[in-house]
């Protein structure tokens, strides 16, 4: 009996149709520590967390809190046992206001049992002020960006004052600045004796905050040790089961003529006077703080939103893109940052998700030809290393990272010239990240152009030939590869364009 242990997982197993997601999992979390769990996409991290939070019921094994066996039937019981959780997949109520969403399931009540709206407003304002956030409490969630929502989720989970806080990839949707805020919070929490279970694919983060690290592979625990006993190489090797370089080496690729030119793109509310160019074989980055308007620009370019003014030229020819189909025909594709909303068709199979944007390619003698389709899907999924029981499995049963790969596969089928990747490595494990970097390299080698929007500066600096920096809906600067430093980018990102 170890009084220091807050949470213990003992021989937990969990089956899904066709998958053993968890196989006799054992590990323990000590009080006042940050316990990091890492592992490839689909290793079973989120599944275990959902078991601990009462969303799933384990098929075997036990969860112990303070060394006592507990039966956590649902999230309400989890909360009453002092457990709260930030979910990997943003799962929000679009019509709800910020203030209410902070208190969902936990509304303060007045003496008469009435929901105390005054109290909600008061506490919301307090919370927002404390964290230096200036949202209007009555803003609807659907009007926020992904990063805003993620930040709110973090605030909410912390506000419960739980003993155990599970954070499943909390930083996948927020930028550097908010990450710092989060880490400061985590420090405060652990000082108070709270324990944090932290899941992330970002190695530098892991080593900054972990006290202990547990590595998962294929539903099993490979190893669990204090951080001091680990180094990055070891963790990655354990995760992937083979050696992977932790730093990706960008190759030198010849940069060709301009394929995409954007002049004066403006949409009153979201961005104005956006000018940029992208060349063949080039990877162009877009940096900025959250809400800078990068996503909005890309959506407009991709034909998802209208814009009021501006010209877009492809290979020197003016084009008029009114919808996504036009875009695809012009060989531009875009990987969305919000996978759940704009990426996957949840109830449909992996196969159908992959072939969705190129169905016409599989038509043979007037009908969709199953063999051609299956062949193409299988080839691509193998190439992209998608882990799935079968191609007929519905995509929602895949892990987040694998879903991302499926969507990338979808775009690869269309054979694009210009790829817009909005946060392409969000929620993706190191191995897969490398595969995506490799893929980007391969694509540029083939003479394709890549626009990479990312909130991870190291990744942008590593991969890009040039970086545009946006702030408040405008491009505030452009840097060439030899000028890249985090400081310069941040300076532009926080600057207002000097006119």
């Amino acid at each position: 009996m170890n009084l220091d242990i807050k949470l213990r997982v003992s021989n937990v197993e969990k089956f899904f149709p066709g998958v053993k997601a968890l196989d006799k999992i054992n590990f323990a979390v000590r009080k006042g520590t940050v316990h990091v769990i890492c592992g490839e996409n689909g290793a079973g991290k989120s599944t275990l967390m959902k078991v601990i939070n009462g969303i799933y019921k384990q098929d075997a094994g036990q969860i112990l809190i303070d060394e006592k066996v507990v039966d956590i039937k649902n999230p309400i019981e989890a909360r009453s046992l002092g457990i709260s959780m930030i979910f990997q997949e943003l799962n929000y109520m679009p019509e709800m206001t910020i203030e209410e969403s902070l208190f969902v399931g936990n509304w303060p009540k007045d003496r008469y049992g009435k929901v105390d709206w005054k109290e909600i407003r008061k506490r919301t304002l307090q919370l927002l002020e404390k964290e230096n956030l200036n949202y209007a409490p009555e803003t609807k969630i659907k009007d926020l960006t992904v990063s805003d929502i993620q930040m709110l989720e973090i605030l909410k989970a912390i506000s419960y004052n739980s003993d155990i806080i599970i954070m499943d990839e909390p930083t996948s949707a927020i930028t550097q600045k908010e990450v710092e805020v989060l880490f400061k919070k985590i420090n405060e929490l652990t000082k108070r004796g709270t324990c944090v279970i932290y899941i992330s694919h970002k190695m530098d983060e892991i080593f900054r905050i972990a006290d202990e690290i547990t590595v998962f592979r294929d539903g099993c625990v490979v190893d669990s040790r204090p951080k001091e006993d680990y180094d990055m190489e070891t963790v990655i090797t354990q995760m992937v089961g083979r050696k992977v370089e932790s730093i990706f080496q960008k190759e030198d690729i010849e940069i060709g003529e301009q394929v995409l030119q954007v002049y004066g793109l403006t949409d009153a509310a979201k961005f104005k006077n956006i000018n940029f160019q992208v060349c063949k074989g080039e990877i162009v980055g877009f940096a900025g703080l959250m809400g800078a308007g990068r996503t909005e620009v890309m959506r407009a370019l991709f034909g998802l939103d209208e814009y009021q003014a501006g010209e877009v030229l492809i290979k020197g020819k003016k084009v008029n893109i009114r919808n996504v189909r036009d875009s695809i025909d012009q060989k531009i594709v875009m990987l969305s940052e919000d996978r759940r909303r704009f990426g996957i068709i949840p109830v449909r199979s992996v196969r159908e998700n992959v072939s969705l944007s190129s169905l016409k390619k599989f038509i043979y003698k007037g009908r969709l030809h199953a063999e051609i389709e299956n062949q193409t899907v299988a080839d691509l999924c193998k190439k992209m290393n998608v882990k799935t029981p079968s191609y007929e499995t519905s995509i929602e049963a895949l892990s987040g990272g694998n879903q991302q790969k499926v969507i990338l596969s979808k775009w690869m089928v269309t054979d694009p010239d210009i790829l817009i990747l909005d946060e392409p490595t969000r929620g993706i494990d190191v191995g897969a990240k490398h595969e995506i970097y490799k893929l980007m390299t391969m694509l540029t080698k083939q003479g394709k152009a890549v626009i990479m929007v990312s909130s991870e500066l190291p990744e942008l600096i590593m991969m890009c030939d040039r970086i545009y920096v946006m702030a408040k809906g405008e491009i505030t600067g452009m840097l060439k590869r030899d000028e890249f430093t985090q400081e310069k980018i941040m300076a532009y990102a926080t600057a207002i364009r000097a006119q």
Partner: protein
């Protein structure tokens, strides 16, 4: 700046209260079209006439907000009504009769709720099955015969409270109750959360099944009350009564801005929706529109009212994609 503020206010009014604007417009046009329309007596008539449907609609509003619906409400109304009338004839007690109706309404809806929460049947199918079963039970109990001579039972539907027809008072009371439940109770907020995103609501520690069950039970109470009012208003226990009222109720709720995607809707919107249909039916009768043409006009106006409402609410965000409400 003042002008700007005013125009902003106007835009806000238009988007937030668009359905009430439709109601107002319809009211004014009807006023112009026929002088009898605004008479106190006529407005009282309209309110009494829509009361039963509107009470059902309040129940539907709660259910639709939480992502469900009730196709059985009119049939359960009939079953509750005939059993209540029959209880009255047996015991002579209005109180017992009233309680019987509520009990029957609640029991049927507990069954609905069980099918939906325990057995995961889609509410459409669960309540469709209940619709058939309750109607069959009402007919079987009465052997298809109407129950007449219901004596004082008629006070519920034909009596007056504070000088107003009783059904209007019931309708107002249940409006306030629904509004309060939705706006000021944990139950109500959970209803919105579940309709907005069931999984997220569950993950936020809301007992989804309990809330759904309660939503059905409250609906059951409303249906029971509607049953009493209906039978009392038509002066008999009619097992075949109120056919099609579930649609009236759904229509009122949806015109009033409650959305089938869940998470959106208000009690007052539903009332406005019910009045839009009520005014429309009344004015067409008053000015003597051919009854077939009435159906065409009614359909067209319902469509226009909803289209205007949606347009007023969404025109500010010009996303190209159909917004989720259109689903």
């Amino acid at each position: 700046m003042n002008a700007l503020n005013k125009s902003k206010l106007w835009a806000n009014l238009k988007s937030k209260y668009s359905i009430y604007m439709v109601l107002l417009a319809l009211f004014l046009v009807s006023w112009l079209a026929n002088e009898n329309f605004v008479s106190g007596e006529n407005l009282k008539n309209i309110s009494t006439q829509i009361s039963v449907g509107t009470i059902l609609a309040f129940g539907q509003t709660i259910l639709i907000i939480s992502g469900m619906l009730d196709l059985s409400s009119a049939s359960v109304l009939a079953l509750a009504g005939v059993l209540s009338v029959s209880a009255y004839k047996m015991t002579g007690s209005l109180v017992i009769a009233f309680l019987v109706a509520i009990l029957v309404g609640v029991l049927c809806n507990v069954l609905n709720g069980l099918m939906v929460t325990k057995f995961k049947a889609p509410p459409f199918i669960a309540t469709l099955a209940m619709m058939t079963m309750a109607r069959g039970a009402a007919l079987m109990y009465t052997n298809g015969q109407n129950i007449y001579q219901i004596g004082d039972y008629v006070v519920f539907g034909q009596g007056r409270i504070l000088g107003l027809p009783a059904p209007i008072i019931f309708m107002i009371g249940l409006l306030v109750l629904t509004w309060y439940l939705l706006k000021h109770t944990v139950f109500g907020r959970s209803v919105y959360a579940i309709g907005g995103n069931e999984e997220a609501a569950n993950a936020s520690g809301i007992n989804v099944n309990k809330v759904k069950m309660r939503a059905f039970i409250i609906n059951g109470i409303f249906v029971g009350i509607a049953g009493v009012l209906f039978m009392s208003r038509i002066n008999g226990g009619m097992p075949n009564g109120a056919i099609g009222y579930e649609f009236k109720a759904l229509t009122a709720a949806v015109i009033g801005g409650t959305s089938f995607t869940g998470g959106i809707g208000t009690a007052s919107g539903t009332l406005a929706g019910a009045f839009i249909v009520g005014f429309l039916d009344n004015i067409m009768v008053l000015i003597g529109v051919n009854s077939y043409l009435q159906q065409i006009v009614r359909g067209a106006i319902i469509a226009l009212a909803v289209i205007y409402d949606i347009w007023a609410k969404t025109k500010k965000t010009k996303l190209k994609l159909g917004n989720v409400e259109s689903k």
